[in-house]
């Protein structure tokens, strides 16, 4: 197990290198630089040049890159150009907000996606199946910001059950966090839920056809045990692989959702940072987010090995 984790960690290093290179390059390719944001519209050309010199932006690009990597190796990701705070500090302030939202959305995705997929498979070709797959299709094909808007209009404006926006940290008031985060989480979860429901359904149908399910029934096991134990234990193996992807989708999807519901998470932070050309913030924030996603995917791989004895033994 530790072997798998270590191998995957080493394998992730090139990914991190590529992500940081691309981020660096893209930021420099888009027109404009931080000096105009810092200096404001009235700044003179001399002032702007001075700001650039102070930030080290007058250096050649390769040198800037080398400086950044040198800092990274010493664990120093620099400071946000506009907020003045350290990049790591800001990230650790904002990332939990996004993680809270994504985790909530993940729970909704897992519960609703798995349940509707399993039920649809067990009731194949009945109206239950068709209804579940229709909802799944809606979740997949309708953009989640649109679903979010519908949610705001219906549940917040019309019914008044939930607030229209705003955010209360969990540590401050769990109930208010729950009220403010439910709608964003649901609208964020829809796409992944639809995806998971469809994958769960087809995987379950495939598994239910297997000979060992017939064996389980021939042994006289109760129908519930056949489905929950024998079928699900096998279906979860391919489904787990998808869950790593789903977490990545949730994190990237939260950019839109956070903006729509004005939630101060990573998505909002990075969007702002890109608009402000806050180079260190974007580079550092994205790198840390990528590290986090890599860790999640390694955890998924370990779960995979745990679920499938064939992988577990070959991995030894």
């Amino acid at each position: 197990m530790a072997g798998i984790a270590l191998r995957r960690l080493l394998g992730a290093l090139p990914v991190l290198l590529i992500v940081s290179l691309i981020t660096f390059a893209l930021l420099r390719l888009i027109p404009g630089d931080p000096s105009s944001v810092i200096g404001g519209p009235s700044a003179t050309a001399d002032q702007l040049a001075q700001i650039r010199r102070n930030l080290g932006l007058d250096e050649p690009l390769p040198m800037q890159l080398v400086h950044w990597y040198a800092g990274l190796l010493q664990g120093n990701l620099g400071r946000s150009l506009l907020m003045g705070q350290g990049v790591v500090e800001v990230t650790f302030e904002r990332l939990p907000v996004t993680l809270g939202l994504s985790l909530y959305a993940l729970v909704i995705t897992l519960v609703a996606g798995l349940a509707s997929g399993i039920v649809a498979a067990l009731r194949q070709n009945t109206w239950v199946d068709q209804l579940a797959m229709m909802v799944a299709m809606l979740g997949i094909s309708v953009p989640n910001f649109f679903l979010g808007l519908l949610g705001i209009i219906f549940f917040a404006v019309k019914l008044g059950w939930l607030p229209t926006g705003g955010y209360v940290p969990f540590s401050q008031d769990p109930w208010e966090w729950f009220r403010t985060t439910t709608m964003p989480a649901v609208s964020l979860a829809m796409l992944q839920m639809g995806l998971l429901a469809r994958i769960t359904r087809s995987t379950m149908l495939e598994v239910l056809r297997q000979d060992y399910i017939r064996t389980a029934r021939a042994k006289g096991l109760p129908g519930r045990q056949v489905v929950v134990k024998h079928a699900l234990a096998n279906a979860l193996i391919p489904i787990t692989t998808v869950i790593g992807i789903i977490v990545s989708l949730l994190i990237s999807g939260s950019v839109v959702t956070e903006t729509l519901f004005s939630i101060p998470g990573m998505g909002q932070l990075l969007t702002q940072a890109v608009l402000n050309r806050d180079y260190p913030m974007v580079q550092g924030g994205l790198l840390l987010t990528t590290v986090f996603l890599v860790l999640v995917n390694i955890m998924v791989d370990i779960c995979y090995a745990f679920l499938d004895p064939r992988v577990r033994y070959d991995g030894k």
């Binding site: 297997q210 000979d211 060992y212 017939r214 064996t215 389980a216 029934r217 021939a218 042994k219 006289g220 096991l221 109760p222 129908g223 045990q225 024998h230 234990a233 096998n234 193996i237 679920l307 499938d308 004895p309 064939r310 033994y313």
Partner: protein, 329 residues
């Protein structure tokens, strides 16, 4: 009252071309402790018969269109699923043709034996473990106690079929249905598993319904034989009698293919042509198009299964003639 009584059983499948009868009007008994062999070409309806008895066919598309199955006096056809579950695995057990895929890959073999016992009997974890070890021991898995934690992929095909037998027999069933238990195995392993099956039958005193393509297997194991063709029983007789005086031309064809364990009768050199699909069955006797003894009368009306002598029945209008000819030869 026999242990198992099958009466006029007809199982139909819903297909795009309408409903077809996979098996039709199947009637037979199995007595306590008896070994009944069922033989017939691929597609003749052997598995469908077995799965209908077990209530394991998915409904729909399958449907018991007529007839009944009674086990120890209880009618299984139309029985509620929870009551059937109590009988499956403890009253009637089944082992399948595909040992490689019939065990669940993500559970240990110990667990797969123990959960069967747990479903049918009250037992402590200690007792469950002991039973699993005992069963593995009985089916000839060496150092059984150490193998409980093994996963199916760590076992060979022959060993997996032994584990399947251990599962099937763990609750001492009265009837074991073995659907081609050795077809997928190497020839040498086939004989071993068959010997094991016979030993266990003697030890547990259960009845066995053994399904096979192979006349050699029938000769070695069965007390009585059912020959199936295109969904119907065409001949039924005690094994010695069937080998000595086969009455149905199809049975004779099967027997003319040298009956050794090494060679099965999946491809029948002695019988030209092939089995008709359920949707394309000829009118009259279904075997007629392939039959050497065919006369015009064979094309009109299904020949009924007629008992020529007590315990020996066949469905051929020329049965008496054929039997006489063999007697003379």
């Amino acid at each position: 009252m026999s242990l198992l009584e099958v009466r006029g059983l007809t199982t139909a499948f819903r297909t795009e071309r309408g409903e077809i009868n996979a098996v039709e009007d199947i009637t037979f008994d199995i007595d306590e402790g008896e070994i009944l062999g069922i033989v017939g070409e691929s597609g003749s309806g052997k598995s469908v018969t077995a799965l209908t008895i077990m209530g394991l066919l998915p409904q729909p598309p399958a449907r018991v269109a007529a007839g009944s199955v009674r086990f120890r006096g209880e009618t299984l056809t139309g029985m509620s699923e929870p009551r059937l579950e109590r009988i499956r695995g403890s009253g009637i057990s089944m082992v399948f043709q595909e040992p490689m895929t019939s065990l669940n890959p993500v559970f240990t073999i110990g667990e797969q034996i123990m959960e069967t016992v747990r479903a049918h009997e009250k037992a402590t974890p200690r007792e469950l473990r002991d039973r699993a070890v005992e069963m593995l021991d009985k089916v000839g898995i060496p150092s059984a106690a150490k193998r409980l934690g093994d996963y199916p992929h760590q076992l060979s095909g022959g060993q997996r079929q032994r584990v399947m037998l251990a599962i099937a027999l763990a609750c001492r069933p009265k009837l074991l249905i073995a659907d081609e238990p050795t077809t997928a195995l190497d020839v040498t392993i086939q004989a071993q598993v068959l010997d094991l099956l016979m030993d266990l039958r003697d030890e547990f005193g259960m009845a066995v319904m053994i399904i096979t393509h192979n006349m050699g297997v029938i000769a070695e194991t069965a007390d009585r034989v059912l020959v199936m063709y295109a969904g119907r029983i065409v001949e039924q007789a005690p094994v010695v009698r069937l080998f000595e005086r086969p009455e149905h031309p199809y049975t004779r064809g099967l027997l003319e293919c040298v009956p050794t364990l090494e060679q099965d009768t999946e491809r029948l050199a002695a019988i030209p042509g092939s089995l008709p699909e359920p949707g394309r069955r000829p009118p009259g006797c279904r075997f007629a198009p392939r039959c050497r003894w065919r006369i015009d009368a064979c094309r009109t009306g299904l020949p009924p299964l007629v008992e020529q002598e007590p315990g020996h029945a066949s469905a051929c209008i020329r049965a008496a003639e054929i039997a006489a000819q063999i007697g003379a030869a």
